[in-house]
């Protein structure tokens, strides 16, 4: 299973490097939204709850773009048929797609979070970074698991551009609550983390639940 997942992931990353369809679009979207907030809120800086909300809602909306494109090459070029013909555990496809989405999110955040710090954040981003990185990684794992699951659900639907956000966004509400609540104290001037352990546990629990659900049901999603 790991061998097949690695092959699929390698193929996906090669195609993404050549087509540049997902990560640049997600990044450009996030940067654009931060610029829009910068001017739309008519404030030079944000902190606390507002900063945390703007950061996470933008990242979640950018995730929708990545999820919508996650199975695009398989759908358009018969890749799913080729996978179903091969002696490969279908779970390998989930693992590969979730890993690809996780990497896309990390690449997105490498650009989008510093841009957020520069354009909108009042307090020093560097001071919050160690804890924020842990929150980002835990949130990315959850987003990757749910995103790959939703992408597989939507792949054979005609209105997949509608189905992806309609399914994904409600499912990530608990993740948004955990990530935004954990980040909020970190994005306050001179603030210390509050209840960080509790919110990290919430994120880790969310990740575990959705990884287990995805591993349990993914095989059936691709069934005729």
């Amino acid at each position: 299973m790991i061998r097949a997942a690695a092959a699929i992931l390698r193929k996906d990353l090669t195609i993404e490097m050549r087509t540049k369809e997902s990560v640049p679009a997600m990044t450009l979207f996030s940067v654009t939204v931060y610029v829009l907030f910068h001017f739309g809120l008519d404030r030079d800086t944000l902190d606390g709850e507002l900063a945390s909300g703007v950061l996470w809602v933008t990242l979640l909306l950018a995730t929708v773009i990545g999820v919508s494109r996650l199975f695009a090459t398989e759908r358009e070029q018969g890749g799913i048929d080729a996978l179903l013909l091969a002696p490969v555990d279908r779970t390998a496809l989930f693992v590969a797609k979730a890993a690809a989405l996780f990497l896309y999110l990390v690449l997105l955040e490498v650009v989008a979070v510093p841009v957020f710090g520069l354009l909108l954040l009042g307090p020093d981003l560097l001071a919050a970074l160690p804890e924020l990185l842990v929150i980002l990684v835990l949130a990315d794992i959850g987003l990757a698991a749910v995103g790959a699951l939703v992408a597989a659900l939507a792949v054979e639907t005609r209105a997949r551009e509608l189905v992806v956000p309609l399914l994904l966004l409600p499912l990530v509400v608990p993740l948004l609550i955990g990530a935004a609540s954990a980040s909020e104290p970190l994005l306050r001037e001179g603030a210390e983390p509050e209840d960080l352990g509790r919110f990290l546990a919430l994120l880790a629990g969310y990740d575990l639940v959705f990884l287990l659900i995805a591993l349990a049901v993914f095989d059936f999603l691709l069934d005729d």
Binding site: R3, D81, D223
Partner: protein
């Protein structure tokens, strides 16, 4: 050795529409079944059911002794499918596509070079598939379908887009002399009958006939298209 195919009253529907009904046929290993029928007759549906990509809704289907859909996992990797869609990634090169397939099937890397040589694409193997002609893509698709040395080939108009030389080149891979059991969907009645042991005709999803190829009058097969 189990028959390559044993179908009895095979049926497949899309919603309320019956796409395939009453298909009954038995094909021995190494033999060729030609499938004739007009567009929409159910030929591609039959191939996709046999490939395990679609579930049969009634009747029984055994492929190399394994009952579908329950034992589909047992025959994965023993079937080569060459359909209308080449199942290749346009952004990847021919070599990358076959290397990807070889990893899925856990094959040695040398197998990729052998397959490229067999279809005469060694010199174009590092070009993206989107830059290849349709004939070359079809040759590459044939290499993909036979990369893992399958026991059963499911072929949907396999010589489409091929010039005579390219078609000859693919004969050892997908032709009668490949030694593999084959299900060959074709509109070329005379050509199909010449290389088949059995022939099945489909009309509107229903089996119109299933006969040894030598006993089938070509005019009867051509009648499916009228």
């Amino acid at each position: 050795m189990a028959p390559a195919l044993e179908l009895d009253g095979l049926e497949r529907r899309y919603g309320d529409r019956v796409a395939l009904s009453g298909v009954t046929v038995r094909l021995e290993p190494g033999r060729t079944l030609a499938v004739f029928g007009a567009n929409g007759a159910g030929k591609t549906t039959l191939l996709r059911v046999l490939a395990g990509l679609l579930r049969p809704h009634a009747g029984t289907a055994r492929v190399m002794g394994c009952e579908l859909p329950g034992e589909t996992w047992k025959v994965r990797g023993r079937i080569g499918y060459l359909g209308h869609d080449p199942l290749l990634y346009r952004q990847l090169t021919g070599r990358e596509n076959l290397t990807y397939q070889s990893r899925l099937y856990d094959l040695e890397p040398e197998r990729v070079e052998e397959a490229l040589a067999a279809v005469g694409l060694e010199r174009r193997a590092n070009e993206p598939v989107r830059d290849l002609s349709k004939g070359m893509v079809q040759r590459l698709a044939a290499a993909r379908a036979t990369l893992h040395d399958p026991d059963l080939l499911l072929l949907d108009e396999p010589r489409a887009n091929l010039d005579p030389a390219a078609a000859d080149r693919l004969e050892p891979l997908i032709g009668r002399d490949s030694g593999r059991a084959r299900v060959l969907v074709t509109h070329d009645v005379d050509g199909g009958l010449a290389e088949a042991d059995l022939a099945v005709g489909l009309r509107g999803g229903r089996q119109a006939f299933a006969l040894p190829a030598g006993e089938l009058d070509g005019a009867r097969a051509r009648g499916l298209y009228s």
